[in-house]
Structures are given as C-alpha cells and as structure tokens.
C-alpha cells in the first residue's frame, strides 16, 4: 500500500524527460524529490497526477491508477503558483475545495481554521491580486490541502518565503503527515528535505542518481566530514592520503575523508604536533551528496 512508480519513462518526441524511474513511496511518509532545474521533477509529478501519460511503465496508488475518480484523495501544489487573481480568497478556495469533493460549509470552516493558523484571517474577503506573493502562497497551500488528501504533492512549497513563514508552513505540512497523509515534495533546499523526509530521490536529467532511505544514503555515501581547529599549521593535511576535499576556513579546515579509518589516522598524526582545539567527525550533508552526485553527472 503505497505510491509505486514502476519503470516509468516519458518521452516528448526525441527528448527523454524522465528515464526509467523506479521507486516506492511508503504510506504516511514524507518523500523528498530533489533535482536541478529541468531534472524531470514536474513531469514526474504530472504523471503521478495522471495529467500526462507515461510513455512506458505505470504509476499506481494503493494498487490503482490515479484518475479523476480519485481526485478527492489527491492534493497538488504546482510549482508555478496560480490562483484566480480577481477572485476573493473565500470564493476561490471554496470553488477549488468543491472540485475536490468537499461541500461548501465544510470548506468554509476549514478555510477559516487555516487562515487563523497562518495568522491571516482578514484575507478571507480580499482578492488574491491584493496579497503579497508569500501570502498568496499560503492561500495556495491551503487550497492544496484543505480537503485532507491521502496523497499530497508539493512542488517547491517553500520557495520565496521568509524564515518565519517557512516554519509556519513546514509545521502545517508535518502535522498533515502525522495525521496520515503521504506527502511527496520537491525542493532545492536540501536542509528541508534532510529535516523532514525519511526517503528521498535525487534526479538528474531525467534519471534517478540516488534513491532510498536518507540514513542509508548517507551511510553508503561513505565519505565523512572532519572539521579541525588547532594552534599549528595544518597545511600538511592538503595532500594527506584518503582526503578527497579540503576547505580552509578562518579557524581551520574542513576535510572530506573516505572513511572513519582516515579520520582515526589523522588524529593520531595531529596530537604529537600540538594542541588540538576541535576535532569533529560529521555525517555528510545532503548538499555534499547532491553536489557530488549531480555534479559528477554534469562532468
């Protein structure tokens, strides 16, 4: 019982937008979908929603193909934000919610709850074109999740928001996940994915380059970061065996090493040379993995 993407390929004429995509999104979980611009994220989302038909393969949600009969179970926040500019928030949301199978009274009640929660109750009678971009985004997010969908697809939900609003919307999305919604979301912001998602997939030029559980991805990546501060010259570490990357900061160095054994050997060599103020072994960040995988694919 989950969202299964089985060998999906989408071609537009000669151009392959998505190439042999295979993964499963477990139920009631948040799934991160990463990729550079033009990686095929939006096309994948459109195929999940049934707006585009895959050239090959199939996509099933709980064993069924997603079509308009199941649209009350699905929520979608497209990357290109769009609402009726001339319509009042109330009419707009009620209309969109009714199209997702909600009745008018319930939609209004939910709308009031969400506007209160996002601290903008006064917007209910405003036209969308009068709102700031960030506030429009709140309205749009409400539109995509007001009917408590079982599957929610968020394409870049937090882009263009200030940190306070990001936290507010993130909390709302996390609450929704906890209440049982399966959420697929794409982002350029690695820290959001790192913070919220258990599973993820990194796409590059239509093909998945990394896919799986966040912890396992990090473990299997192998490389770790070592951050060092010391009272003596650290330049000998630049050509140390097992060190793959060196970044010199104001206070010391951050090294990328191939494994824990390299870190152990470094600290043995450091101690005789003088006082070491800081020595820390860190898990690689998702940013590191992304840059390495996607960057490597660029070359």
């Amino acid at each position: 019982m989950a969202l299964q993407i089985k060998g999906v390929t989408k071609k537009f004429g000669e151009f392959t937008a998505v190439n042999n995509l295979n993964f499963t999104i477990p139920e009631k979980e948040m799934f991160g979908f990463l990729g550079g611009n033009g990686a095929g994220k939006t096309t994948t989302f459109r195929m999940i929603l049934g707006l585009l038909d895959p050239t090959e393969g199939e996509i099933v949600w709980n064993g069924n193909k997603i079509d308009y009969a199941s649209s009350s179970l699905i929520g979608y926040l497209p990357e290109e934000r769009g609402l009726y500019p001339k319509l009042k928030v109330r009419d707009q949301i009620v209309y969109l919610a009714r199209l997702r199978g909600m009745n008018k009274g319930k939609a209004l009640k939910e709308l009031e709850y969400w506007l209160d929660r996002f601290k903008v109750p006064e917007y209910i009678d405003k036209r969308v074109e009068e709102l700031s971009k960030g506030n429009q985004q709140k309205i749009q997010l409400i539109a995509s999740m007001i009917h408590k969908p079982e599957l929610l697809i968020l394409d870049e939900p937090f882009s263009g928001l200030d940190p306070v609003n990001v936290e507010m919307l993130k909390d709302a999305v996390i609450d929704l996940r906890d209440s049982g919604t399966t959420i697929v979301f794409s982002s350029h912001r690695m820290e959001h994915v790192e913070e919220m998602c258990e599973h993820l997939c990194i796409m590059h030029k239509g093909s998945p380059v990394v896919e799986g559980k966040l912890k396992e991805i990090k473990r299997s990546f192998g490389k770790k970061n070592v951050s060092i501060r010391a009272d003596f010259d650290l330049s000998f570490l630049d050509s140390y065996p097992g060190v793959t990357k060196v970044k010199t900061t104001m206070e010391g160095k951050i090294l990328q090493v191939t494994g824990e054994d390299v870190a152990a050997s470094i600290i043995r060599d450091l101690v005789p040379k003088g006082f070491v103020r800081k020595f820390e072994l860190e898990e690689p960040s998702l940013t590191d993995i992304f840059i390495e995988k996607v960057g490597a694919a660029y070359e």
């Binding site: 537009f12 038909d53 050239t55 290109e80 500019p85 969109l96 539109a143």
Partner: protein
C-alpha cells in the same frame, strides 16, 4: 457529473458578477430601449419644427391660395408664405430665416412650372412635397379646363391592378420576402455578434485560467473535457441570460408602441407580424453556431501562454465568422443563389446561411435536417479533437504559433 455542474455554475456566477458584464448588459439594454422607441424619439425631435417656404406667384392666375391648400394637404409641417420680391426672399434664404422659395410660372409645354431654390438641396423631402402639391394643382387645373367631373378625375388617377405571383410552390410572395428580409437581417446580426462575442469570451476565459496558472490545479481535479464543456455551457447560459434581458426589454417596449409598429421605422423590419418559426430557427442556429465556434475558441485559447496572444490566435476563427456573415449579407438580396445553397451545408457557414435560407425561402425540411445534422456532427468531431488539444494545450507554455502549438498540444495529450 457533479463537478460538471460546479464548474458550470462557477463560470456562470463569477462572470455574471463581473463589472464589465453588468456594464455591457446595461448599455445594450439602453440601446434596445432607444431602438425600440425610435418612432417616438424621432417624433419628439421632429414635431416642433415648422419649415417655412416662400412662394412667388408669377402665373397671374392667383394660384397662391389653392397651392397653399395643396401643400398643407400633403405635409402640414410646411408653412407657405406669399412673397413678390425675389431678391428679398433670396436674402432670407441665405440668412436661413426660411428654408427656401418656390418660383411659380406658367409654361407653354407643361402648363405650370415650379422652380425651388434653397441653400441645400440635399433635403429632398420638402422639395418632393412641393412637387407633389404642384402636380395635384396642375391635375385639378387641367381637369377643370377640360370640364371633367370629379368622378372622371378619380377614374383617370386610379392605377391599374397589378400583382406578382410566384408559381413555384415553395416560393414566398414578394411582400412576404420583404418582410422576412428585415427580420432575418436583424437576427443574422444577433447571431453574428452573439457567436463572435461569446466565443471570444470563452477563449479569454480559458487563456486567463492558463496564464494565471490556476489551470494546473483545475486539471488535476477536473478532467479537461468536463471543464471545457462546462465552461462552454456556462457561457451559453450567460448569453441566454443576456439575450432574454435584451429581448424582454425590447418586447415590452415594442408592445407598448404597438399602435405605431406597422408604420414607418418598424414596417421595414417586418416586426408587425413576426414569423414565430423564423425566431425558433434563429435560436437553434445561434445555439449550434455558438457551440461550434466556442469549442474552436476553447481549443485556441488553451494553446496560448500569454493573454495578449489570444486575439491573434483566434483571428482565423473570427475571419470564418466574418466571411459567413458577409456571404449571408450578400445572400439577403438573392437567397436562392447557388452559392448560398452550397454554403448553407458547410458547417462553419451553415449557422448563418442556412438560417438565411430558412428565413427567406420555404426550404424543404430534409435540407434543413441535413444541414443541422452536418453541423452537429462537426461539433461532436471538433469536441473530441478539441478536448485533446485542450488537454495538451493547458500544460504547454512557451511560444504560441497557431498550427505548431496545436500539433504539439495533440502530441502532449497522446496516450503513449
């Protein structure tokens, strides 16, 4: 089907509430009111003005009084004043104190001779009336010279009986034809404007949803086909509302003026004895024409990505409507021409041209049935293809070159 109604009622209500809709409706209603009260308005403006015409009688027979009586009998809005001095009168005319003057003389060949002089001779109405009065005067004088009795005069003046009768069974009489022509003319205009206006409205509506990117949410919850047809019917409902308002206002106001309906202005349009079947056919053809063009407009609207491109994109469609209208206008004079018969079966023209034939001639029913059948078949075909273009078109952004976009929209909606 439930969603169909939600989209339909949303389209209808939200359009109904827009300022532009309310304003155009009010303006059009005022226009209808003015048109339907034209006779009263013309009267209100025309009646207070008496035209003065001077008459210089040089016949020596003292014809002034009898001529004055004749003129007043023809048109009581012309006042005749006597005068002798031509120079003085001419000055009055150039100073626009009086409208003009008539020089009345004897003539060897014609008996009487009148010369009317005025600043402008473009207003032939007064001149015509003066001539008519002069003719009467001359007839009477000649009659009295010949010692004819009144009865003999009447006999002399009665024209022969003359009638035109069409031999073909399905032909309408000349009188019917003239009456039908007025009504068909007006209804053709209504169909033309209606189809053009509401089809453009559809294209704009679709393009607005697309450019404001709300479309992507909409098509993820309602199928594009449902959406397209709900929108087309929503606007159809809107047009019906508007039409009912216009015709309601027109009907009530014409009904109030019923007494002068058969005279002057309205006689031309044959509103006096309106043919009910013509109006029913007008409604049928207007609806079918609208459906055809609205479907086309929805597809065209769905492939543009900027609202500014809508006009350009739908211009081929507009051309089709205009061509159909022009053919229909030419056909008004000769509705049985062969090019009219042929075009009345071509779906993009038939809503106007078959209606023209139905309104003007007695077209056999099977011809109407074939034309309507072809029209409906085209609408269904266009609906099926259109739905696919729409489905792909709404997902497509970028340059909008008509043919290429339509092709790629079809490709985008392909199953495999």
């Amino acid at each position: 089907m439930n969603k169909f109604w939600i989209v339909l009622s949303h389209t209808y209500i939200s359009k109904l509430k827009t300022k532009s809709f309310i304003i155009t409706t009010v303006i059009m209603m005022a226009l209808v009111l003015i048109l339907s009260n034209m006779t009263n308005i013309l009267k209100a403006f025309g009646s207070d003005e008496q035209e003065q015409v001077a008459v210089i009688d040089q016949t020596g027979d003292h014809l002034f009084d009898s001529y004055k009586a004749e003129v007043e009998a023809v048109n009581d809005e012309i006042t005749i004043i006597a005068s002798q001095d031509e120079g003085n009168v001419e000055k009055k005319v150039t100073d626009e104190e009086i409208r003009g003057y008539l020089l009345l003389e004897k003539d060897v060949n014609y008996g009487l001779k009148g010369t009317y002089k005025a600043n402008q001779i473009s207003d032939s109405l007064i001149s015509n009336d003066l001539f008519l009065a002069l003719s009467h005067l001359k007839s009477k004088r000649t009659a009295s010279e010949l010692n004819l009795t009144d009865q003999q005069i009447v006999q002399l003046n009665t024209p022969p009986a003359y009638e035109t009768i069409a031999l073909a069974e399905n032909a309408k009489s000349e009188e019917d034809l003239n009456q039908a022509r007025g009504l068909v003319y007006v209804l053709l205009f209504v169909i033309y404007f209606g189809v053009l206006m509401y089809a453009t409205m559809i294209a704009m509506e679709v393009a607005t949803e697309k450019t404001s990117r709300v479309m992507e949410i909409l098509i993820s919850s309602v199928s594009p086909i449902t959406q397209m047809f709900a929108k087309i019917l929503g606007v159809a409902l809107l047009s019906l509302t508007q039409m009912i308002l216009f015709f309601g206002v027109g009907y009530v106001s014409i009904k109030r003026n019923l007494t002068d309906m058969n005279e002057g202005f309205f006689a031309i349009f044959g509103f006096g004895n309106t043919n009910i079947s013509t109006i029913i056919y007008a409604i049928i053809f207007a609806m079918l024409g609208y459906l055809l063009y609205a479907t086309l407009a929805a597809c065209l609207g769905s492939v543009v990505s900027k609202i500014e491109d809508v006009q350009q994109m739908i211009s081929p469609m507009t051309m089709l409507v205009v061509i159909a209208f022009l053919i229909a206008m030419f056909g008004l004079g000769n509705p049985s021409a062969s090019y009219i018969t042929i075009t009345s079966f071509i779906p993009f023209f038939s809503p106007m041209i078959m209606f023209l034939r139905v309104g003007m001639l007695n077209v056999p029913f099977w011809e109407i049935a074939i034309s309507i059948g072809l029209l409906i078949a085209t609408i269904i075909l266009l609906g099926i293809v259109g739905a696919r273009i729409y489905r792909g078109g709404v997902l497509m952004y970028g340059s909008s070159k008509s043919l290429k976009s339509i092709k790629s929209a079809l490709q985008l909606s392909k199953k495999k």
